[in-house]
Structure formats: structure tokens, C-alpha cells
């Protein structure tokens, strides 16, 4: 019974999408950390991608709404910092969805890069690795702006973090 409830609560929370990248759910992204039942109350734990991610407040509201719609009256959402989120937590499904959406998924495992180093990023449209970075900071904290030299299309790259 309670395992069943927990499954339903997880499914409801996991249905929430990232407001900045609506093609990804917070489960794909690895932002949804845990869903627990405490009697009839739901305890949801999430973790921010970046310290200043402005989507976190909205994600919290969306989780509360999704759970209310699923019939859970008591919901408590907590944000935890540790262990720190990394792009390694993004599911393979999430990476595939990103690419289909036109955003290059993070390349390889998250790790420390040399001060002036750069990733090799494949174009999400034509697959060419003949690409170059236009700007390290993009339209959101988690993205950089790149350009494909083969098909000439600019694209967003979800930074390895």
C-alpha cells in the first residue's frame, strides 16, 4: 500500500519538467533526488544544478502542484546541496531527449578541465565534431553557445559540470 503510494508520488513528481528545458523531466536531469512517504505526507528532495539556478523555485512549486493534482494534500519539498549535482546524474534517456531537441548533451564524465582546455562537442543536428565554441556562457547557467562548422548551425551545449 505505502509502496504503491510512493510509486504514485514519485511518478507525479517525476512528471515535472525543467522550466528552462521543457523537453527534460526533473528525473531525467537528476534534480529529483528522493520521494518518501511519511504517513500521508510526501517528502520530496531535490538538488540544484547551479547555485543560482532561478528555476529551482518554480520546480518546487510545480512539484507541489503535480502532487496536489495526484491527490497528495501534504507535500514538503527540501533542497539539498550534498552530494553536489553533476551532469553524470543525467539519464541516458535525458541525453537522447536533449540531442533530439537540438541541445548537445554533456560530453563524457564530469571532471576538472585545464584552465584553457575545451571539450570536443558533436553537433546535435548533423553529428559533426567539426564544431567551435562561440561563448562559454549561454542562455541559462547550464548551457554554452556553440557553432557547427560543417552544417553552419549554431547550437546550445549542455555544459559538462
Amino acid at each position: 500500500m505505502s509502496a504503491d503510494l510512493r510509486e504514485r508520488a514519485w511518478a507525479a513528481a517525476a512528471s515535472v519538467s525543467d522550466p528552462e528545458i521543457p523537453v527534460l523531466s526533473i528525473a531525467d536531469l537528476g534534480v529529483l533526488r528522493d520521494v518518501r512517504m511519511d504517513g500521508d505526507a510526501v517528502e520530496v528532495t531535490i538538488t540544484p544544478t547551479y547555485s543560482g539556478c532561478p528555476a529551482m523555485n518554480m520546480i518546487q512549486l510545480d512539484i507541489e502542484t503535480a502532487l496536489a493534482v495526484a491527490g497528495f494534500a501534504k507535500v514538503h519539498v527540501t533542497s539539498v546541496l550534498s552530494p553536489a549535482w553533476t551532469t553524470d546524474w543525467m539519464t541516458q534517456e535525458g541525453r537522447d531527449k536533449l540531442r533530439a531537441y537540438g541541445i548537445a548533451p554533456p560530453v563524457g564524465p564530469a571532471g576538472r578541465r585545464a584552465l584553457f582546455g575545451q571539450d570536443v562537442v558533436a553537433c546535435p543536428r548533423c553529428g559533426s565534431t567539426h564544431t567551435s565554441r562561440i561563448a562559454e556562457f549561454g542562455s541559462t547557467s547550464c548551457k554554452a553557445l556553440w557553432r557547427c562548422e560543417a552544417c553552419r548551425e549554431p547550437f546550445d551545449y549542455f555544459k559538462c559540470h
Binding site: 547551479y50 547555485s51 543560482g52 546541496l81 550534498s82 549535482w85 584553457f116 549561454g138 542562455s139 553557445l145
Partner: protein
């Protein structure tokens, strides 16, 4: 309604680091809609957002440690200038682009090894904040050092401006390594990092980038101080006037 300085040394320590991040983040946000290119507009706003996010986590933690129900907003909006304990470097006005980028570079070249070392703090919350912050600051360091190179090794005009910025900002770098009396016990307990242990790495980073930027590394000299004790330049008051105006005029406002 004015929030006094916390009594707990740990809360005070977190607050000082939060003040550095908030004030520098606010300064960078002043570039919004004023940056020279769209890419730089986004870079400066992204860096501002990272720093303000870091300050929020640190203010929230200071409030938890102090245990008097103070929120991040109370600390940010309801303290007077003298209660702010950020270093003077971060309150320096933006000036021209060379000054903004050199200020960012000096700060990030310290903050990067600082947060890396703080990941081993015996305080679990500070270690968690550090693990997020170091990744973000790594970008700031890379971005600002690329600009220092471009400006220093660029045109005669960009070189002149960077050289002027170096002369002006250098005396504010000494305070990066200041330790207050109430911090020594935290350092001994492994909660805080002794900034002096980071001096070698900071100098090596700064020297390497300045030399590639065709500028000589200044040596020592007289250093400004006072921010950590709450003695600020005239610039902080003007910054706080803008930062704190709305919550003071309309306390508890929501939208």
C-alpha cells in the same frame, strides 16, 4: 528591524564569505543591459547569478547556525554598511571593462583554490557549498583570465587600460588573505581554510596570466584593508542603497 552581527564565529565566517559573493554578484549585475556584446552580457549575468546563488546558500547557513530565525533576506537587506564584512576589492566600482575583468580575475584566482580546499572542511554544509561553488568559479576564472590576456596582449589602448586597472586594483588584493581573530579557532578545527596556504597558488596563477598578457606582476607593496572589519570605501553605501531600497521602503513586499 536592523539585523545585528551574529555571535557565533561560524555564522560570522559564513556571513563574510556570503558578503563577498553578494557584493561582487551585485556589481556584475550592474553590467546587465550595458555589456559590450551579447555574449558578454550573458557571461556577466551568468557569473552574477552564480555568485548571488552562492551568497544565498551561505546567508541561509549563517542564519541556521546563529539560530535566531534570521533569513537570507534579513542578512542581505537589513544590515547596515558597517555590518557588511566583504573585502574592499569586491565593492570597487565596475569602471571600464578592464577593471571589471581584472577584479573578477583577482577574486576568482583566489576563490577557486579556496573552494577546492573548503570541500575538505570538517563542516558538512560548508563543504557542500564549496563543492558547488568551485565548479562555478572555475568558469569565472577561465573567462576572466581569457579577457585579461585579450586586453593586455591586445591593442595599445586595451593594454593601457589593463595596466591602469592593475595599478588601481593591486592594493586591494592583500585583503584576500586576511584572517580575523575569531577565525583562527575555525581554521585550527579544519572548518575554515587558512588563506595563507593559498597564497602561492594565487600568485602563480596571477603571474602566469599577467605575463602572458605582457604585464609585469607587481611585487607586494602597501595593501588596503578594512572591509573585513566593516570599514568600507564610500562605494559600498551607494551599492547598498540600490540593493536594499525596495525591501526597506516596503518591508515584506511580495510579488
Amino acid at each position: 528591524m536592523i539585523v545585528e552581527a551574529p555571535a557565533s564565529p561560524l555564522a560570522r565566517y559564513a556571513l563574510r564569505r556570503a558578503d563577498d559573493a553578494l557584493i561582487l554578484g551585485h556589481r556584475l549585475s550592474e553590467w546587465s543591459a550595458m555589456a559590450p556584446t551579447l555574449e558578454e552580457e550573458m557571461a556577466l549575468s551568468n557569473m552574477a547569478l552564480d555568485l548571488i546563488g552562492q551568497s544565498r546558500a551561505l546567508y541561509t547557513y549563517a542564519g541556521e547556525v546563529e539560530g535566531k530565525g534570521q533569513s537570507e533576506d534579513d542578512f542581505a537587506y537589513m544590515r547596515r554598511e558597517r555590518e557588511y564584512q566583504n573585502i574592499l576589492l569586491v565593492e570597487r566600482p565596475n569602471g571600464d571593462f578592464a577593471q571589471t575583468m581584472l577584479r573578477q580575475f583577482f577574486f576568482a584566482a583566489f576563490a577557486y583554490p579556496y573552494w577546492l580546499a573548503m570541500m575538505r572542511s570538517t563542516d558538512a554544509t560548508l563543504a557542500a557549498i564549496a563543492a558547488k561553488s568551485e565548479k562555478e568559479i572555475a568558469y569565472h576564472l577561465r573567462h576572466s583570465s581569457e579577457w585579461v590576456l585579450r586586453l593586455g596582449d591586445g591593442t595599445a589602448e586595451s593594454h593601457r587600460r589593463l595596466a591602469e586597472a592593475l595599478e588601481e586594483l593591486w592594493p586591494y588584493t592583500g585583503e584576500l588573505f586576511a584572517v580575523l581573530p575569531d577565525e583562527t579557532a575555525l581554521i585550527a578545527a579544519g572548518v575554515a581554510v587558512d588563506p595563507d596556504t593559498l597564497r602561492g597558488e594565487w600568485e602563480a596563477t596571477v603571474r602566469a596570466v599577467l605575463e602572458r598578457a605582457t604585464l609585469a606582476m607587481p611585487s607586494g607593496g602597501w595593501m588596503q584593508q578594512g572591509g573585513r572589519e566593516g570599514r568600507h570605501s564610500e562605494h559600498l553605501g551607494h551599492l547598498l542603497a540600490e540593493l536594499q531600497y525596495v525591501p526597506r521602503m516596503i518591508p515584506g513586499a511580495t510579488w
